[in-house]
């Protein structure tokens, strides 16, 4: 059995915290550049230019792209042939977040209690950690800092089989229409369908990790994604909601089997700063 010291996980999370907040993935940058070429609204074009210039400034000055450096979302795939040593896994991840957010001068956005006290934890912990045990002897860490503005525009709806794909489409478009300029469009829309109440929400977030431009492997859902993108961009919301033809850069759908009585659907909205990166140890 392969041994892996959790200190290496701390180190990876520390680095990923800083890197994801400064450098946007190439697929997102390319999608923003293509949006600039297509956008009809002069104001929309100007905003897209400001967004692209900001990415350059962030890289050059090593500053976070957005001041909202997010809640630390961590997807972990732990190979079942790995023996983790040197401490507890979740503690090691939180230590990585603590170090990364401090050393990277990133904003600490977590409060200890959601309602009554709302006192800042001052180190951006705890991270939100999802762990899966998978075959193999590697540990894959996907780190995705998620801003509050776009997350607030997300929703889960327990739909029924009778609602069908048209019901799903209307829900997704309506959710984006009601979000308007709030989630910092152009957005990426993650849609999770099936499973259970909580599983579909997870799927929607996982769908945001797919690179923009990579097709859905299922041709039927691929065409639904394309149709939804057109319908969403026809809403006219545009960059920052001030009007334009670029409301979303992509719609990504993920599905899993579900109960005969159910059709859970989740929409997770992601701002244009679609930050995420992976590392395999």
């Amino acid at each position: 059995m392969r041994e892996l010291d959790v200190a290496r996980i701390t180190e990876a999370v520390r680095e990923l915290s800083i890197e994801t907040n400064i450098y946007l993935p190439d697929d997102v940058k390319n999608a923003l550049r293509e949006a600039l070429d297509r956008e009809e609204s002069p104001l929309g074009r100007e905003i897209l230019q400001v967004i692209l210039e900001n990415l350059d400034i962030a890289e050059r000055e090593k500053m976070p792209i957005c001041q909202d450096t997010g809640v630390a979302i961590v997807f972990l795939e732990v190979g079942q042939d790995v023996h983790l040593t040197g401490g507890d896994l979740e503690g090691a991840i939180n230590e990585g977040v603590r170090q990364g957010y401090s050393e990277g001068y990133l904003r600490k956005s977590m409060v200890d209690d959601p309602v009554m006290r709302r006192k800042n934890t001052t180190d951006n912990t705890p991270a939100i950690i999802y762990t899966r045990i998978v075959p193999g002897d590697r540990v894959k860490i996907t780190f995705a800092p998620k801003g509050g503005g776009a997350e607030n525009m997300s929703e889960v709806r327990m739909m029924t089989a009778a609602d069908g794909i048209e019901g799903v489409k209307d829900f997704v478009v309506d959710r984006v229409a009601r979000s308007g300029g709030n989630p910092c469009p152009p957005i990426v829309v993650g849609v999770g369908i099936g499973g259970s109440f909580e599983r579909c929400a997870m799927l929607a977030k996982e769908a945001l990790m797919r690179p923009i431009g990579e097709s859905n492997p299922d041709p039927e859902y691929d065409s639904v994604e394309k149709e939804l993108l057109k319908r969403i961009n026809n809403l006219g919301i545009g960059p920052q909601g001030l009007g334009g033809r670029t409301t979303a850069l992509a719609v990504h759908i993920r599905t899993v089997p579900c109960h005969i009585a159910s059709m859970p659907v989740a929409v997770n909205v992601q701002c244009h700063a679609s930050r995420h990166a992976e590392r395999t140890l």
């Binding site: 609204s41 210039e53 962030a58 792209i65 957005c66 001041q67 956005s109 026809n234 244009h272």
Partner: protein, 187 residues
């Protein structure tokens, strides 16, 4: 659409000619406040107590900046979503607040209050936070340090680039812009 230089504190005369869609280059002192600070400010007004800064002619920027590095005036500092402050804003406008800066649309109550009290709402580009920081010349925490990123800061800004969303006549750039680019169906 025109570009207008505005200097704080704002008064009615400066705002009279502004229209939704105009570009603004804002200079002078502005104050940062978001959810938690708004709650405290409104509580102070309701208790008849003095505020940590003079609201008359003031501009509030909805932002919680990233912490500054040593030697850096301001780290990334883009706008947060404004609707969360909607419930607090009319009272502040009644007490002299003239401008707010954020992202996303405002409620009808806030829009009506802006018309009634002669206030404007300006949009900064959300997520363009590293660029916006370069317009900030000075920054100091003046109240509620315990709130960390949500503390009230006095900023001195120089030609901070913004768009007029709501002018004092009740126009709304979100409504105007979206209506222009909306299409029916999936073509």
């Amino acid at each position: 659409m025109k570009t207008v230089e505005l200097i704080t504190p704002l008064d009615e005369a400066q705002l009279a000619g502004l229209e939704a869609g105009d570009k603004v280059l804002l200079s002078g002192e502005i104050y940062t406040a978001r959810d938690a600070a708004h709650k405290r400010l409104v509580a102070l007004i309701e208790e008849g107590k003095e505020l940590p800064f003079d609201l008359r002619g003031a501009v509030i920027y909805y932002v919680g900046p990233a912490p500054a590095r040593p030697g850096q005036v301001m780290n990334s500092a883009g706008p947060t979503t404004s609707y969360r402050m909607d419930v607090f804003t009319p009272l502040l406008l009644e007490h002299g607040l003239k401008g707010t800066i954020g992202k996303g649309p405002r409620s009808m109550k806030v829009r009506e209050s802006m018309v009634k009290n002669g206030g404007i709402y300006l949009a900064a580009v959300g997520g363009a936070a590293a660029g916006i920081a370069s317009a900030v010349r000075k920054a100091e925490v003046i109240a509620y340090e315990d709130l960390g990123p949500e503390a009230i800061r006095r900023l001195v800004v120089e030609r901070m680039p913004l768009f007029v969303v709501n002018d004092i006549r009740g126009n709304d750039l979100f409504e105007l812009g979206v209506a222009e680019y909306r299409r029916e169906g999936t073509n």
